[in-house]
Subunit: 144 residues, 2 copies
Amino acid sequence: MNESVDTLQSLIISAHRLTRIAAQHTGNGTSPAVWRTLSILINDGPMRIGELAAASRVAQPTMTKIVQNLAAEDLIRRIADVDDARAWLIAITPKGQNALNTWLQQVAESAAPLFSDLTADDWAAMRAVASILERHISVSEVAA
Amino acid sequence: MNESVDTLQSLIISAHRLTRIAAQHTGNGTSPAVWRTLSILINDGPMRIGELAAASRVAQPTMTKIVQNLAAEDLIRRIADVDDARAWLIAITPKGQNALNTWLQQVAESAAPLFSDLTADDWAAMRAVASILERHISVSEVAA
DNA sequence: CCGAACTATATAGCTGCGCTATGCAAAATC
DNA sequence: GATTTTGCATAGCGCAGCTATATAGTTCGG
């Protein structure tokens, strides 16, 4: 079972290197926390700041600040929560969806040359693993 | 080929979420740049600060600072370069190897419960992908 | 060999992330 | 309806990582 440990380690380190390669290649230094947050909003729909902080795995005040910055750029919008006057629902805007897509596109394009020699089987394995990870790290799973 | 783009995006986002889960779970907030650096030193042996900065994909002054911090904790040591008095070779110490291993172990252990239901086939796919990524994002590959 | 250009690292100073501690206002509880 | 609890905001700190620049060693033309 130690192979699992090595595998996870390797996956994580490689992914972080990919991120840095893309960040340098595109000159886009947007923080991972920002696009993690946008991606959560797309996948799981509008939610409160507190939920968003837990889902994106940052402290609540950190998420407050992220949301403020995103709102200033119209990438998200705040919707009053009719049930609780203290709370807001945070929703991604079309502009926000574009911003995330553009960023992800840049990452993938920066990485693409490194993977030009992958076979169809390789890509199939990559897709399978991406799917496994998504299922097991989704917001609902991790809530436990 | 757009599937490749989606796949890479998904892998990267999942990996970053795993990292945050581990950081919160263990309370170990060590910067990704630090263990990326240590992992490069283990895989590729001693190298200069400039090379290390390029390999870890940070600016040179950033690496200077990282190396200073790591040296203060005896996780790396500086070796004078006999060929060039301006340069140093940076080598990881046994203590540094332990530190990296401990950190990676914590990450994997934090993640393990999420993956307890994976089949042997799933793990085989994970290993295959980890291997693919390592081969394509190694320091020598990326030098281009 | 001597000075100019180049190179390897270090320093200075900035911006912004993410944290803890705390404040404040709305719910919930009794 | 006063107390406790909850959800978010603010304050303020520490540090990562950046650009610009300084410093010291190397290389190369003459």
